[in-house]
């Protein structure tokens, strides 16, 4: 890889890595898996798209990350099914899923944990849409691309997620 591209990618990752990690940990609630998901997404972007216009890296990176997170959930689900078939096995996936571990809680402040805990009560698509739209400030169009869903679905998920979160966090009118 040429030095100029490497520097540009380094700058892009510096700007994106903390947000990407927080997004991954908000959805997976697992520090080590969140780090791994971010690293794998960086690696894929470097391997497949490093020659592309740097303007394209943002939407592509988040699309890769969201696909990886979806894949992570699929593997968790698969483990649960296997555990159902082999009840003598200890269900580590399930126990890791319930709540942020003590170690993870130390890494996030109370206010953020409160928001994440509310967020995790929503369906997966609503969580992803809310994070992309409200926090990353992606447009409806960019979010639709990153999540591989239609723009109308983004609008619906975003509105529902906002309403639900306001209710859970006690921010409703009246």
């Amino acid at each position: 890889m040429e030095q100029a591209i490497r520097q540009a990618l380094d700058g892009f990752f510096r700007d994106s890595e903390q947000k990407a990690y927080l997004m991954a940990i908000a959805l997976t609630k697992n520090h080590h898996d969140a780090l791994e998901l971010v690293q794998d997404s960086m690696l894929k972007l470097v391997q497949k798209y490093h020659r592309r216009d740097p303007e394209e890296w943002g939407p592509l990176f988040y699309r890769i990350l969201q696909n990886s997170i979806r894949d992570w959930f699929r593997k968790q689900k698969f483990r649960q099914v296997l555990t159902g078939l082999m009840p003598w096995q200890v269900d580590t996936a399930e126990s890791a899923k319930v709540a942020p571990s003590a170690e993870d809680q130390l890494r996030l402040d109370d206010e953020l944990l409160r928001v994440i805990s509310a967020l995790n009560q929503l369906p997966m698509r609503q969580q992803q849409t809310f994070l992309m739209r409200a926090w990353q400030e992606f447009s409806t169009r960019e979010t639709a691309f990153a999540l591989s869903i239609s723009e109308n679905s983004v609008k619906t998920h975003y509105a529902r997620a906002t309403q639900q979160l306001r209710r859970i966090l006690g921010d409703e009118d009246g």
Binding site: R14, H31, Q39, R63, R74, L106, V115, F145, L165
Partner: protein, 109 residues
């Protein structure tokens, strides 16, 4: 600013205010360096994990069908969960094509 927009802004601020601890920031820096330097090449061909997964899924379904005649004994899964497990997301070519269509349209807006 309406109440929803205000709430969205406050939530964004909560995320923006959060500062990661040194250990996580170092881990991310190290992940970035490793990604930029390229991965250690795996000796396992890429098709092996996918094929193994498909075989395991088939064995599991076969086992399930033989194991129990009473459907209530099977692990309960929704249609969404089944789709999640069965889907294969390595549609990279499609991903690229979709991206260029989207990016082209976006530039023309």
């Amino acid at each position: 600013m309406d109440k929803d927009r205000q709430f969205q802004q406050e939530t964004k601020n909560t995320f923006d205010r959060h500062r990661l601890d040194d250990s996580t920031r170092n881990a991310l820096r190290s992940a970035r360096m490793q990604a930029l330097d390229g991965p250690a090449r795996s000796r396992i061909p890429r098709w092996i994990p996918a094929t193994s997964f498909a075989c395991l899924l088939l064995i599991m379904v076969g086992f399930l069908l033989n194991r129990s005649e009473d459907p209530s004994e099977l692990p309960q899964m929704t249609a969404e969960e089944l789709a999640l497990i069965a889907s294969e997301d390595e549609l990279e070519l499609l991903e690229e094509l979709e991206f260029y269509i989207w990016f082209d349209e976006d530039k023309n807006v």
